[in-house]
């Protein structure tokens, strides 16, 4: 397959996944912003949206104040922000257009529909219910896109590169989200069990659609280290870092089997998965959750570069 095509497929999926993650984070922020302050805490939810999206600098270059309107404008609609939801959809669609032959018509139509529906969206005029509808639409797009890819694509390198993009982006987003909220997870004696923490943890889980499933796995009430354990180390949780890396390894192996050659990408992905497999949450907390996540994010970025060098250029 053409390197350029593999590159477009890979980035196409990353942008769809990014749009999906942003939509989930905004959804949760809107929910938290609606809670009385003794439930939601004094942290500015909109501020944490900006830092989760790793765009604090770009945001403050454009806005003085972190308000709902500014954040929505920046994260949802800004054309100046290449990672705004609308930019992600437009970029994904452009990539899809340049690799029309590599994706199925169902995948294309999902993206093209989303692009047609959202390109005229007026972010400033969005009421909370408009926003909810919009975010639901974005999440639905990524579900449909994923489903279409899963159900309709040939199981060849086209599919494997497309999947790699999804999981590398998802791992990155998950780790960032945890990192921004890590202070919430650090046990603070005076507040453990308080309602404030409860809603913070719940919102973290909710933003990755894992609140209900948490209870199915642990069958006890929310505890910070369990939340971290769930989102980092549990393979039952499909968005956990370990799950992402299992998938990444699987697709990299498929590629190397088909091509008859392994490389830096396979070695790095295996090492990261092994590290996650050997970790346990207590040791992670002792050594520092923030340090752990920082290292993971850097490693994951490095894997992206390895894949780029090995296959995409």
């Amino acid at each position: 397959m053409l390197s350029r095509m593999a590159d477009s497929l890979y980035w196409l999926s990353r942008y769809v996944e990014r749009a999906d993650n942003l939509a989930r984070i905004l959804d949760t922020a809107q929910r938290m912003a609606g809670l009385p302050s003794n439930y939601a805490g004094s942290t500015n939810e909109w501020e944490s949206v900006i830092s989760t999206a790793a765009s604090t600098a770009a945001f403050s270059a454009q806005f003085d104040e972190v308000t709902r309107a500014n954040v929505l404008h920046f994260i949802v609609g800004s054309q100046a922000n290449p990672s705004s939801i609308l930019s992600c959809i437009a970029t994904a669609r452009n990539n899809a257009r340049s690799v029309r032959t590599a994706i199925t018509s169902e995948m294309w139509e999902t993206l093209n529909d989303a692009w047609n529906e959202t390109r005229t969206a007026d972010v400033r005029a969005m009421s909370p219910s408009d926003l909810s509808r919009f975010l639901a639409m974005v999440k639905e797009m990524s579900l449909r896109f994923d489903g279409a890819a899963y159900r309709t694509m040939l199981r060849t390198d086209h599919f494997w590169f497309q999947r790699l993009g999804t999981y590398i982006e998802r791992a990155d987003n998950m780790a960032r989200l945890l990192d921004v909220k890590y202070h919430v997870l650090l046990p603070r004696q005076e507040l453990v069990g308080g309602s404030l923490d409860y809603f913070q943890w719940a919102s973290l889980l909710r933003s990755v659609n894992a609140l209900t499933s948490f209870h199915w796995v642990y069958r006890e009430s929310l505890q910070p280290w369990l939340v971290a354990d769930f989102l980092i180390l549990r393979s039952e949780q499909p968005r956990s870092l370990v799950s992402c890396y299992k998938e990444i390894n699987e697709y990299l192996d498929q590629i190397s089997d088909a091509y008859g050659r392994q490389g830096a990408s396979q070695r790095r992905a295996r090492a990261t998965l092994a590290r996650l497999g050997n970790a346990n949450i207590d040791r992670i907390f002792q050594a520092g959750l923030h340090e752990f996540l920082e290292e993971f994010i850097a490693d994951n970025n490095e894997l992206g570069r390895n894949i780029s060098q090995q296959y995409l250029s």
Binding site: M1, T101, D113, L312
Partner: protein
């Protein structure tokens, strides 16, 4: 030219419904305005959704526009099509023989049939190609022969497109749309299928793989990229053929062989169906500033290691002055009488013709010999006195740059327009494929419609629309 004298393909001169149109005549009579409008909306949604759009250069607002689609099909009977397809095959064979001669022995020039300056001073003539003999001696692998009709029996060829004719994706998607929108009416007919076109195209391209290729030659489609106006078509055809859609930067030449960059390293390319113009193909041979092409491609081509379809330099056939010699060209190479007529053409380079054209410009269509896309032409009867004068000045200035033709009374087909159903002028572009093994032509082609009342200009860049074209057994 009056309204009465125009041949209406649905109703004939006596007003009787012509063969093949009965079911549609019936449907138009009974369908409510609401039903028709809802079908039109559905059609637009269909085209928007699959993304079959085109870009109009210099138009930022309409960055991705739809070509209007009319839901009344244009119907030809199988006996009409038999005649047409025999004529198309004959004409395409003649075009291939002619262009091979132009870059080969030049017998037609020596025979004194075509003036040599028309060939050698033609901007589309490529000196690089002299002496090059592509696989199977095929130069024009894909030809779009534009045909118009004036009455029940008479078809004229309006122009030959031997460069990189486009529009075939509309032929295929229009059929898809019709089968979805009006399945009941569709199935009252036996319509000859067109959906094997991509297979026929692939078979054609594989048949002309170079001798050095493996038994399973690699075909690619070379596109200028996603911002080209015909990009949809490029991706559509590559997809349907199951071949890679490449851009210039995906290819490179090493040791006289063309390769594409893949995730598994370089892979040899044998046949390039290129949808970029000659001058952008290879910055080393042609336009040195082109970023679209592949440096060294021409040397690989001349070494016989890759086939380029269509061959370089085929644009000579598109020239409207060359066109005027087509009846002689057919006779010269094939020894046959042309089956399809040429429109009588005055070559303004000849003094007598120029005199006649200048005197009768208000009754004639004047075209630039190298023009295309409906640009740079004058339709005398529809032009103002000032426009006619401006063209007279151009003609006196460079007579060799123009030809003139009578304004034909082009046939019409009913269309849905704002005011209801009304006749509109149409032409037909069938796509003729020439391989080393044989000529292939799927029944039908792209019918283009001049959506404006009375207009004769069908080009999509000038607001033209399209219709599905049915060849039916009656």
């Amino acid at each position: 030219m009056t309204e009465q004298s125009q041949f209406n393909e649905m109703y004939g001169p006596d007003g009787a419904v012509r063969p093949g149109y009965a079911a549609f005549h019936e449907w138009i009579q009974t369908a409510s305005r609401e039903l028709i409008d809802s079908r039109k909306l559905e059609a637009e949604h269909f085209f928007r959704r699959i993304g079959i759009t085109f870009n109009v250069y210099g138009d930022v607002q309409g960055a991705e526009r739809l070509i209007p689609f009319d839901i009344i099909p244009r119907v030809l009977t199988t006996s009409e099509w038999d005649l047409l397809s025999r004529g198309l095959e004959q004409r395409t064979k003649a075009l291939n023989a002619f262009i091979g001669d132009v870059y080969g022995a030049r017998e037609i020039v020596r025979a004194g049939l075509v003036p040599e300056d028309l060939i050698f001073q033609n901007p589309a003539f490529q000196p690089e190609m002299v002496g090059v003999r592509p696989a199977g001696d095929i130069f024009v692998h894909i030809a779009g022969i534009d045909v118009v009709r004036v009455d029940a029996e008479t078809f004229y060829v309006l122009e030959d497109n031997a460069r990189t004719p486009s529009g075939v994706s509309y032929m295929l998607e229009n059929r898809e749309a019709m089968m979805r929108l009006l399945p009941d009416v569709f199935h009252q007919h036996r319509v000859l299928p067109v959906d094997d076109y991509p297979d026929a195209l692939l078979a054609t391209l594989r048949s002309v793989a170079p001798k050095t290729a493996t038994r399973d030659p690699t075909v690619v489609l070379l596109t200028p990229g996603a911002f080209n106006s015909a990009y949809y078509e490029h991706s559509f055809l590559a997809d349907k053929m199951g071949v890679e859609l490449v851009e210039g930067s995906d290819l490179f030449v090493r040791g006289g062989i063309v390769y594409m960059r893949t995730t598994q390293g370089p892979r040899r390319v044998d046949v390039i169906y290129r949808r970029i113009d000659d001058e952008f193909l290879d910055p080393l041979a042609f336009n040195p500033t082109s970023l679209l092409g592949v440096p060294g491609l021409m040397s690989a081509y001349k070494a016989g290691n890759v086939t380029i379809a269509n061959a370089v330099g085929t644009g000579v056939c598109d020239d409207k002055a060359i066109y005027s010699y087509m009846p002689e060209i057919v006779k010269f190479y094939l020894g046959e009488e042309p089956i399809l007529k040429n429109v009588p053409t005055w070559r303004c380079r000849e003094a007598d013709s120029l005199k006649y054209v200048l005197a009768n410009i208000d009754k004639l269509v004047v075209k630039e010999v190298n023009g295309s896309g409906g640009y740079g032409m004058l339709v005398g009867p529809h032009a103002t006195r000032e426009q006619c004068d401006a063209f007279r000045a151009k003609l006196r200035d460079s007579p060799a740059g123009f030809i003139a033709q009578p304004t034909l009374s082009l046939s019409t087909v009913p269309c849905f327009v704002e005011s209801g159903v009304a006749p509109r002028h149409v032409d037909l572009r069938p796509f003729v494929l020439s391989g080393a093994d044989r000529v292939r032509c799927v029944p039908g082609g792209l019918t283009r419609v001049a959506m404006k009342e009375g207009s004769l200009v069908v080009n999509s860049s000038q607001g033209g629309g399209t219709k599905d074209t049915w060849v039916v057994e009656v």
